[in-house]
């Protein structure tokens, strides 16, 4: 096991000490990061979304910015503006908060679609174009967006096309009893975060990201992936089948998960582990009842597709 992989394991342990009882979600978030994707967390306030983002940024040694989305937000509030300087008689670009290695886009569904798409386009392109000038975003660049699950008045839920830009959507959920006890007994999380030492450098992270791309994928596994895609496209349970982009996302996430598990090749289990995260927000059930949440559909999908 090489240096960066070792540091990764240490990093995971460090995060797990702060975010108690959420080992699976932490790994999913890391897999998302390693697969160069962005993460959407859909959960209630107070379950630790911000803390997770903070800890991740801190442990991975990433520069961190938080954007609180509001309804009166403008694209320029996110991307930055060119400000005219009288003394030098020129425009100077004032980068917005998006110019950070890790961004927490909090309550992204509170902003208008315009502001949302400004962020999402930046996510997709890894660059920002303002007044004809293109500004590259830092690398690595990782967005964790949070969204309130309940439909409230005055929110703009992300449209399907925008959801597709997030590699994964996860839920943190309530901690279990022992984790809760740990939280209650432990010190204030913020204090701990401040003391955390970075376990990885951005360079390490990029090495790991390169390693992810090299994880072996056998024809048998591709058969499995295709069987999954085909099933979603054929079954009447889903309004639409998964897009090719979803397939690519699934593969990338599976590779990252395999790396996190210390494997050199992707196994069906890796696909299954990331599947709810990757396809949960991309699938929409046709059965019109509240139980048909994305996760449930994803679980049914796993159970419906034979491993070839």
């Amino acid at each position: 096991m090489n240096h960066s992989a070792q540091s990764l394991q240490t990093a995971i342990q460090q995060i797990e000490q702060i975010i108690l009882g959420k080992s699976h979600q932490i790994r999913l978030a890391l897999a998302c990061l390693l697969a160069r994707g962005h993460l959407l967390i859909e959960d209630l306030p107070g379950v630790g979304k911000t803390t997770l983002a903070h800890v991740l940024a801190r442990t991975l040694g990433l520069q961190f910015a938080r954007i609180q989305f509001t309804s009166d937000m403008l694209p320029a509030d996110i991307l930055g503006v060119s400000v005219y300087h009288r003394d030098s008689s020129e425009f100077r670009f004032h980068p917005g908060p998006v110019f950070a290695q890790m961004i927490l886009a909090d309550e992204v569904n509170r902003a208008t679609p315009k502001a949302q798409s400004a962020l999402l386009e930046a996510m997709e392109e890894h660059q920002v174009t303002i007044e004809g000038t293109t500004h590259l975003l830092p690398a690595p660049f990782f967005v964790i967006a949070t969204q309130n699950p309940s439909f409230q008045i005055g929110t703009f839920p992300l449209p399907e096309s925008q959801l597709d830009r997030f590699l994964m959507r996860i839920q943190l959920g309530y901690p279990d009893a022992s984790a809760e006890r740990g939280l209650l007994e432990g010190r204030d999380r913020r204090e701990i975060i401040a003391t955390l030492a970075p376990q990885l450098t951005p360079a390490d992270l990029q090495t790991l990201q390169q390693q992810v791309a090299k994880i072996h994928v056998s024809p048998a596994l591709l058969d499995y992936l295709q069987a999954i895609l085909r099933h979603t496209r054929e079954s009447a349970q889903y309004v639409h089948g998964l897009s090719p982009r979803a397939g690519i996302a699934m593969l990338a996430a599976s590779r990252a998960w395999a790396l996190l598990q210390g494997r050199s090749a992707v196994l069906p289990e890796d696909v299954q582990a990331v599947l709810p995260g990757v396809v949960g927000h991309r699938l929409q059930g046709t059965r019109d009842n509240s139980l048909t949440r994305g996760d449930k559909l994803a679980m049914e999908l796993i159970e419906a597709v034979k491993i070839p």
Binding site: L74, D77, Y84, K114, A236, R287, D288, L291
Partner: protein
């Protein structure tokens, strides 16, 4: 084609409940009987055999046996032409009453054998013929006329083949829980109701964040990103970009405001109005006795409105889903938790190196 008595017998003998999952056509699902033509062929063979015996035609025996064996082989071929096909029910896009509902069935042929001349047919005689190449999945659309709004079930479909020689009829039944949503047939033409004005006028502008609507003078307290820096370079006074949210006009397509008519007629009128409003990209809402859909102009909204019309007074979930809904959902959380837990217990068990 089939006498009522025979039909009744078949209903009794081959009755199956609708199925949800994929169906694999195995020997228990495939029935084979000779066709009328096959019986006739047998008769011809018997005649030939009599001739052979009478005239002691050795080559005649050879020919007769060869034909008989080939005919018998064709039974195996017919069975093989259907066997091991996997069929799953696909989606059925909603249609308007009076149109043809198109149910998609997915046929997976995972074997090396191409299949020929399979015929899918409904009770009413509608049928479609298709081939299935080897190692491929094919989507077969099957059309059933949609006469009434609501959920249209595909019902029991028959699949048969008489390939290769037409001497044997191999068949099976496919009965899926497959439903197509049928919207009410839109009325011929119906004027849209007048826009309901919120502030006295049909169209009005409200300050918002949506669209750039011009510039105004800077007032202390304006946000920095809203200052029009470009104009600042030209003009003396700082200006601020003004944005507006275009609310447009809202129209309510209201059940209660329709002229007195039968329920179905009202639904047809409303369907027409929804389509027209959607085509004109209006901001419209739908008001039914039992539901109200807030104004919107997206295609999804149109579909939701049409669905509400289609299912007015009916149950909103297809029968099959209703049956299983109460049993399946509850253990989900437990299942996910158990499954995620299992993942975590053995995070590094599979290190293969």
């Amino acid at each position: 084609m089939m006498s009522p008595l025979r039909q009744q017998f078949r209903n009794w003998a081959f009755r199956r409940n609708p199925e949800a999952g994929p169906i694999v056509l195995n020997q228990r699902r495939i029935y084979i009987l000779p066709t009328r033509q096959g019986l006739f062929f047998g008769f011809v063979l018997a005649l030939m055999l009599l001739g052979d015996i009478n005239y002691n035609l050795s080559l005649g025996y050879v020919l007769t046996f060869l034909l008989a064996t080939t005919g018998a082989l064709s039974m195996l071929y017919a069975f093989r032409n259907m066997a091991q096909l996997q069929v799953t029910a696909g989606r059925a896009e909603p249609v308007f009453a009076g149109e043809q509902a198109s149910f998609i069935l997915h046929f997976h042929n995972d074997t090396d054998l191409p299949r020929h001349q399979l015929v899918l047919h409904a009770r009413d005689g509608h049928q479609t013929t298709f081939d299935l190449p080897a190692r491929q999945a094919s989507a077969i659309a099957f059309r059933i006329p949609a006469t009434r709004r609501g959920w249209l079930a595909s019902g029991q479909l028959g699949l048969y083949t008489e390939f290769p020689l037409g001497l044997f009829h191999a068949w099976s039944y496919l009965h899926f829980e497959q439903y197509c949503l049928v919207y009410p047939q839109p009325a011929a033409a119906s004027p849209l109701p007048a826009a309901t004005a919120l502030h006295g006028t049909g169209m009005h502008s409200q300050e918002g964040d949506e669209d750039f609507a011009g510039l105004r003078n800077y007032q202390p307290g304006d946000a920095l990103p809203r200052i029009a820096w470009k104009t600042l370079a030209r003009e003396q006074e700082p200006q601020v970009k003004k944005f507006s949210a275009n609310q447009g006009s809202e129209r309510w397509l209201d059940w209660s405001l329709l002229p007195a008519a039968g329920d179905e007629r009202k639904l047809e009128l409303l369907a027409r109005q929804v389509l027209d409003a959607s085509a004109a990209q209006l901001h419209y809402g739908l008001r039914l006795p039992e539901a109200e859909l807030p104004p919107d102009s997206s295609p999804a909204h149109r579909d939701a409105c049409l669905k509400a019309l289609a299912l007015h007074g009916l149950d909103h979930t297809p029968p099959a889903v209703r049956r299983q809904a109460d049993t399946s959902g509850q253990h989900l959380a437990a299942r996910i938790a158990a499954w995620a837990g299992r993942k975590l217990r053995t995070p590094s068990a599979g290190k293969s190196q």
